[in-house]
Symmetry: C2
Subunit: 409 residues, 2 copies
């Protein structure tokens, strides 16, 4: 294949993670090392920035800047949630033509998009459109999502850091709640609408510590209030402080989200229907049933942006997958997503590869049933063995005035 020489654009899209900037750094490093890519531009706010020509020339970034970028949370280039039209017909065609106009203007021959499901959808469409019109370029997707629910890859960049944050925070909460002798339930609500990967990570402390959550509920198994009350009752038999991890997305066999169901009658002062979240709903249910002290904790945004506690394994892999995507594009690949394949687990070894994007975009990878115990109230050892290597290692952080130093454009 003839070498395709030109400029490249990299963009970030979807929800932030603690590792998405490490992948950005990987793409930039890959571009700087390549003799096919002349200039590497960063599109601000993803594809929106391409359309608006908000392009930063990243070609002069130093090693030091890139290193700081790797431990900076959230999307340094800004993000977007824009979804491209489903086809290239009629009015829909215009936006694709607008994008190509920008590509031609800047002589863009490489486009790298770091994101989740929606972003891979963008990559697939752009790849098809450029082929259709015969514009010679390479379009590559690089995955990121804390949810770990992308198909085609062993795991996603960003998941390991989120898992490490959740496991560490759970361990600290377990220490905290153990100090009193009074009967109490603590419910920790963890992100994950459809996949329970993040909530499963809450069980990791059991591998190394003498503490663990009593109960872990994932959205992959239907939630049953009566079984739940039995589970809590049984946990109280062993100790007074019961700690529970729940996915925000748990729902009953009828498909009703726990976070919605319990609140159906509630309205706030403005008459709005009150949606308090899954943890709060269970807090109310437990208080009603057991009459004991109950607290719910929603881990919230820090799950996806707590880069002060990121996993070195995750960051290193995130850089590597970004560079790999560039390398493979310059070798002729297009319409692909970079992926991880786990070579072996003990010792952990992973290799970076690419896969055709058509089978990946818009598919969701759930936690397999074998990773959840029979009763559906905890994860199995097999599940923990899968997650454990992903949280290993602590990156060297730069602190300034006691706070982690971040990079910004």
């Amino acid at each position: 294949m003839e070498k395709l020489i030109g400029n490249a654009i990299v963009g970030q899209s979807g929800g932030p993670t603690a590792a998405i900037n490490a992948t950005l750094s990987g793409v930039i490093k890959g571009a700087l090392a390549s003799d096919a890519i002349t200039k590497i531009y960063g599109a601000q706010n993803g594809i929106e920035g391409v359309l608006a020509r908000r392009l930063l020339d990243l070609s002069a970034m130093t090693e030091e800047e890139l290193s700081l970028l790797e431990t900076t949370p959230a999307a340094a280039l800004g993000s977007c949630r824009k979804k491209l039209p489903a086809d290239f017909e009629g009015k829909n065609r215009k936006i694709f033509e607008d994008i190509i106009e920008v590509f031609k203007e800047y002589d863009i021959r490489y486009f790298f998009y770091i994101g989740g499901n929606d972003s891979m959808d963008t990559v697939a469409k752009l790849s098809r459109f450029t082929k259709e019109i015969g514009y010679d370029m390479r379009v590559m997707g690089v995955p990121k999502t804390i949810d770990n629910d992308l198909a085609g890859t062993d795991h996603t960049p960003g998941y390991g850091s989120a898992a490490k944050y959740i496991a560490t925070t759970m361990q600290e909460i377990l220490r905290d709640t153990a100090v009193y002798t009074v009967k109490a339930v603590t419910i920790v609500e963890i992100m994950g609408r459809d996949a329970g990967w993040l909530t499963a990570a809450a069980a990791l402390p059991s591998l190394f510590c003498n503490v663990k959550p009593d109960l872990v509920y994932l959205p992959e198994v239907a939630f049953d209030y009566e079984k739940f009350y039995e589970d809590v009752e049984k946990a109280f038999e062993t100790h007074p402080n019961v700690v529970i991890a729940v996915s925000e997305g748990i729902r009953t066999a009828e498909g009703v989200y726990v976070g919605e169901g319990t609140q159906s009658g509630a309205t706030d002062a403005f008459g709005h229907k009150y949606l308090s979240g899954t943890g709060k709903a269970l807090e109310i249910a437990v208080k009603e049933k057991f009459g004991c002290k109950v607290r719910s904790i929603e881990l919230n945004l820090p799950q996806r942006c707590a880069s002060h506690l990121s996993s070195k394994t995750d960051l290193d892999e995130s850089v590597a997958i970004g560079s790999h995507a560039v390398r493979q594009a310059t070798r002729g690949e297009s319409g692909k997503m970079a992926i991880f394949t786990r070579v072996k687990n003990d010792p952990y070894e992973v290799c970076v590869d690419t896969a055709d994007i058509s089978g990946i975009a818009n598919a969701v990878r759930s936690v397999p049933r074998a990773y959840i115990n029979e009763r559906g109230n905890n994860v199995t050892d097999e599940c923990l063995s899968y997650i454990a290597p992903l949280i290993i290692g602590e990156p060297a952080l730069v602190f300034e005035g006691g706070l982690p130093k971040h990079f910004s454009f």
Copy 2:
């Protein structure tokens, strides 16, 4: 003064912090180094453990164990919320006599109590009672509280680590919320029912980074909804992502807690009055007023137990104040609390001292008005200069399998 030779008990009380075990380590180190103290016992669950004779002999703890203890969150000995009776009359006298019986049985001549306001109250009462009955012993309080609201000391052990966690998390949330171009408000609810010290720490990123919360509301200033809406409106003029830090304890000029007020009409599915918290109440108010995307985040327990992000300054001082309390007790002091006095701020220098406990117990130290700007929607540079040195430094943590290693008895 004649040297008082005997055994010692140390106990922990009140809410956990990331530094209370560092103080425990300091007390143990002080006791081990003293030739007046023969054995050092740890009372499990504070004064409850004294009464129940749940005493652990800590005299053989190694350097390595103590070092791990210092970076372990929450009270390793367990805690309690027990308050001793107000006087020694009639039935009330019994509990004090029971305590002394245990002290005599174990030849206890030193009692160190690590805790907040209520614990200092226990110290004051025990000190008076032992004097009254002529039992020769020394009773010392060692402060801890993330709230930083104890009188008589420049700051409290535990505050610096909580402040570092809050500032770091705020900085990460600021990065996270900045990635989209859509108009949105993020409200971060921070602990502090009566004092705004913790919430003030959320403004620290402004000292070193190019990000800061737009608005900061402390309980020391009456909260006014109309002024609040004006503040948000004004913040929107400069950027689309408005981030607000609020104390859980903010209340209106009429003394109504924001977290209660807005929910007055709301009930849950069980007909209970819905108390959702301050952040949630403001989320609803902002959504109603501006119709934009709003999210509220309650930092919750991690504020007091996130030892993975503790301040080295705080931990070092926490160890030092524990050892100092022991040293002063063996020199004859009793009925005192160990305190910090700030010698100077630049460079920061602190000395450890003791103060009579009677003026300290049950007093609350609020954020001074000069530390809050005139409009009451942010803190002043003077306030930030006061907090800044307390979050400096990162302790060397031991990790195992990617998780911080904790000590447990």
